[in-house]
Symmetry: C2
Subunit: 96 residues, 2 copies
């Protein structure tokens, strides 16, 4: 019984992993697009106030089981990856 | 024009953030459940081979814009948060 249950739960985790991957990359595409728009406007890409606002909204909606500090830590990594992506695009644009 | 476009994209990012939050916590609940099942079986919670397998599947499905190394880094943080959650539950169980 326990093994069947374990296999079932693991399959669900695999499924969630791939949905997370999809969303992380969707976020990456949006952030790239934002970088392009900002580029044409000559606006700075990194906006610490907006990042703080996003984290506040996320923590407001967080109903666990992860604590806010954990969720914040994971999202900061996701945000950082997005900024790096914008930075790479920016440098490629300069090289063209 | 640019500002409207920027606002639109930002709204989409906010939406993706909350869907990510939902999935991260869904994964947390599943991992907690797996920890409980393993507990009754006396099986070790951390399974490095399974973590490696999950990362391999994730990288196989990754079609960018994030590179595999970035995706792997983010998922390792998510995996670690899940293990910490199992650990906390385990310690609470011992204290009861």
């Amino acid at each position: 019984m326990g093994n069947q249950e374990l296999n079932d739960l693991r399959k669900q985790v695999e499924d969630v992993n791939l949905r997370l991957l999809e969303l992380i990359n969707e976020r990456g595409r949006l952030v790239q697009e934002i970088g392009r728009v900002k580029e044409t406007q000559g606006v700075n890409r990194f906006d610490p106030v907006r990042e703080r606002d996003m984290l506040n909204i996320i923590k407001e909606y967080n109903d666990g089981p992860f604590e806010n500090a954990t969720v914040e830590h994971i999202f900061k990594e996701i945000f950082k990856a997005g900024l790096d992506l914008q930075q790479e695009n920016h440098q490629k644009a300069l090289l063209v």
